[in-house]
């Protein structure tokens, strides 16, 4: 195995990788932007290399800086986490060319799967079911209207280079095509530098179910069952589960076999996720994410397998050493993403300084977080601050445990997506397992719930009174107060997300 690895990422995932690497006795090398001088991943690594800059484009996205840091520190491997350079085939190739192990699939597999058009072709050839549609890039909005007639509305326009819900638009009638084409294409160019779009049938009320796979460098592969990821909003996942209520052992085997076939078709190595759209007992390939997913912990809790450890092992050339029969699933796990978002204001990004932090604990609660008191939450990076993961012997216990954990969580100084997750967990349809990818958007999240309105009013008045007394006692203006940057009432009415993409891909 490796002695030293570099983690080319930030936030909770950098810390996640550092943790397993430390447990394996490896020296860990963090890279950090100026903004992340105090970040937990910077502090918790053995070695930290400054990249300079504050924007991703000045730091975590600059392949040359990361490669230079790896060479300078003698890193034997680079783990890219998710996002940033994790699905950049050129970077993967450059890493391997530099004689450094790439903790990820071969560059060729990234390339095929990263291009939605090519991957649909490859999957069709390998006998993997795909969503009905066309695989060729569309020239312009006019051509799109023509093709849409053939496929039938609703239609999804997607960026060939897409991912993360960007560059995706749903079109329900011809009149919407022009605007959708423009914004999708613009977003695709801006996000991926590649404006090619393709089209497929938009399957409206499906479930998003994905299968975790792992391949070694010797042609062996196993899957670790599925994850249910239908609780999403504008195609950003909020809550994930393992297993899915609609997947029984027989379906699990079928989906797993297809997922392994997809991986073998591109000579996959390492951890990957094959995303399916599930509807009425049928499932269709959406895309393969050629890296670790945000939601990998739910699979870990249910299978007992440390996926980062497996990633590092197979990247070092070790054989998996076990087969599908060795993979067992026990109980149920749920993850909730804690994003810096103002839910009642329509999930607007929330920024501020974390003044106040109470993290949940106790039995079967796992916290993967980059939060610390003093963290400044800005707009330069992904809004995901933490993930709360619970395990229970069954889904009912897991749901109750997650509610309990979220009640314990408190992130003061910035708004989080917690209230949205609470609303989901309390919804009878969710508890019954009766939901699809439209479920979250169907909830009215504009009002706070809980019924503590009067108490909150009293607390606010008492807080104000105490503050007034304190400032009367001490004229110390330097005592900073917790403050949440908010956009309320009329201010937010006139902001609407232009994006309306199809799937998430984190």
């Amino acid at each position: 195995m490796f002695d030293r690895i570099l983690i080319a990422n930030r936030g909770e995932i950098a810390l996640r990788v550092i943790r397993t690497a430390r447990e394996l006795g490896m020296e860990t090398i963090a890279v950090y932007s100026d903004f992340d001088r105090d970040a937990l991943h910077t502090r918790m690594a053995h070695v930290a290399v400054p990249l300079g800059g504050s924007l991703p484009s000045e730091s975590y996205l600059v392949a040359d800086k990361i490669l230079a840091a790896a060479k300078e520190t003698g890193a034997q491997a680079i783990h890219p986490g998710y996002g940033f350079l994790s699905e950049n085939a050129a970077f993967a190739r450059a890493v391997e060319d530099a004689g450094i192990a790439w903790v990820g699939p071969p560059a060729s597999a990234i390339e095929v799967m990263g291009d939605k058009i090519e991957s649909r072709r490859a999957m069709q050839e390998a006998g993997v079911p795909v969503v009905p549609g066309i695989v060729d890039p569309i020239d312009d909005a006019e051509a799109a209207v023509g093709i849409a007639e053939e496929i039938g509305y609703p239609i999804a326009i997607k960026a060939a280079a897409g991912g993360g819900g960007k560059g995706i638009r749903v079109v329900r009638e011809p009149s919407e095509m022009k605007g959708a084409f423009r914004t999708a294409s613009g977003e695709a160019v801006s996000a991926f530098g590649d404006g090619r779009l393709y089209m497929e049938r938009y399957l409206d009320r499906g479930r998003h179910i994905e299968v975790q796979v792992m391949f070694d460098a010797h042609g062996n592969g196993v899957h670790f069952g599925e994850r249910e990821c239908s609780i999403q909003r504008r195609h950003q996942k909020l809550l994930e589960e393992c297993p899915s209520v609609v997947v029984d052992e027989e379906l699990r085997q079928r989906m797993g076999d297809v997922a392994l076939r997809a991986g073998h078709a591109v000579n996959y190595r390492g951890a990957g996720t094959v995303e399916f759209l599930y509807m009425d007992g049928e499932f269709y390939f959406l895309e393969m994410n050629t890296r670790l997913q945000v939601e990998h912990p739910v699979t870990e809790m249910v299978t007992g397998v440390d996926l980062v450890r497996e990633q590092l092992r197979v990247a070092a050339g070790e054989p998996l050493g076990y087969d599908q029969d060795a993979v067992t699933m026990q109980g149920h796990s749920i993850e909730v993403r804690i994003n810096a978002e103002d839910v009642p204001a329509g999930f607007l990004p929330s920024t501020g300084t974390v003044h106040n932090l109470r993290t949940p604990g106790g039995p079967w609660v796992r916290v993967d977080s980059c939060l610390y008191r003093g963290l400044e939450v800005g707009l330069n990076y992904d809004p995901m601050l933490a993930k709360i993961i619970v395990w229970g012997p069954d889904r009912g216990v897991a749901i109750a445990r997650m509610k309990r954990a979220l009640e314990e969580l408190n992130v003061g100084g910035v708004r989080t997506s917690t209230p949205a997750a609470m609303a989901v967990l309390e919804e009878p349809r969710f508890v019954e397992g009766d939901f699809d990818t439209k479920f979250l958007e169907s909830l009215d999240l504009s009002k706070a719930r809980g019924g503590f309105s009067k108490l909150a009013a009293a607390a606010a008045a008492l807080h104000r009174r105490n503050q007034a007394r304190r400032s009367a006692l001490s004229a110390d203006a330097s005592s900073r107060r917790g403050w949440v940057q908010r956009y309320r009432g009329s201010l937010t009415d006139h902001v609407r997300r232009a994006a309306s993409p199809e799937e998430t891909s984190r």
Partner: protein, 169 residues
């Protein structure tokens, strides 16, 4: 002291009276048997109310406060009587057109209107990219575009004026 407390759009009147060291808390005319205790002055507090225990978190300044109770966040605007009178006048003025401001820092991707354009409420004025997402900024009312304060490609700070609208009578 009397406070007008707007909790997520619903107004409550809170009256705090201190007499002989005893604090009485009245919400909407009802007396609460409550004990409010700050744990760390960073925002963690504990509210005991009729024996019920609430681990609350309170952050904010004099006028805007966020209270978290059991995972639920309440957005609160709080005014005393003097402030209430002052704010009422401001609100009236804001209803007629005015300046559309950036509610978050971002980059202007595209301008969709020019000075002199007539716009309808809800019509996109420009696209602002923030958090890697493109956001359409819409007209707050039926209006005429009086001025556009930004250029495509320009980075704007939170609160920066974007477009000035003149209300149409």
């Amino acid at each position: 002291m009397k406070y007008y407390v707007d909790v997520n759009g619903t107004e409550h009147e809170v009256v705090l009276t201190e007499r002989l060291g005893e604090l009485t808390i009245e919400v909407d005319g009802e007396v609460l048997d409550a004990d409010y205790h700050e744990v760390d002055q960073l925002g963690q507090a504990h509210l005991l109310c009729d024996g019920k225990s609430f681990a609350v978190s309170v952050e904010g300044d004099d006028t805007r406060v966020a209270v978290t109770i059991a995972g639920h966040v309440y957005d609160i605007e709080i005014e005393d009587e003097r402030e209430r009178a002052a704010h009422a006048a401001e609100r009236e003025a804001a209803k007629r057109g005015g300046v559309v401001k950036a509610v978050m820092p971002g980059v202007v991707v595209e301008l969709l209107v020019a000075p002199g354009d007539e716009v309808q409420e809800g019509q996109p004025l420009l696209i602002l990219e923030a958090m890697k997402m493109q956001n359409e900024i819409e007209a707050t009312t039926d209006a005429v575009v009086e001025a556009v304060h930004v250029k495509a490609g320009e980075a704007v700070a939170s609160g920066a004026p974007l477009v000035t609208l003149a209300g149409r009578e």
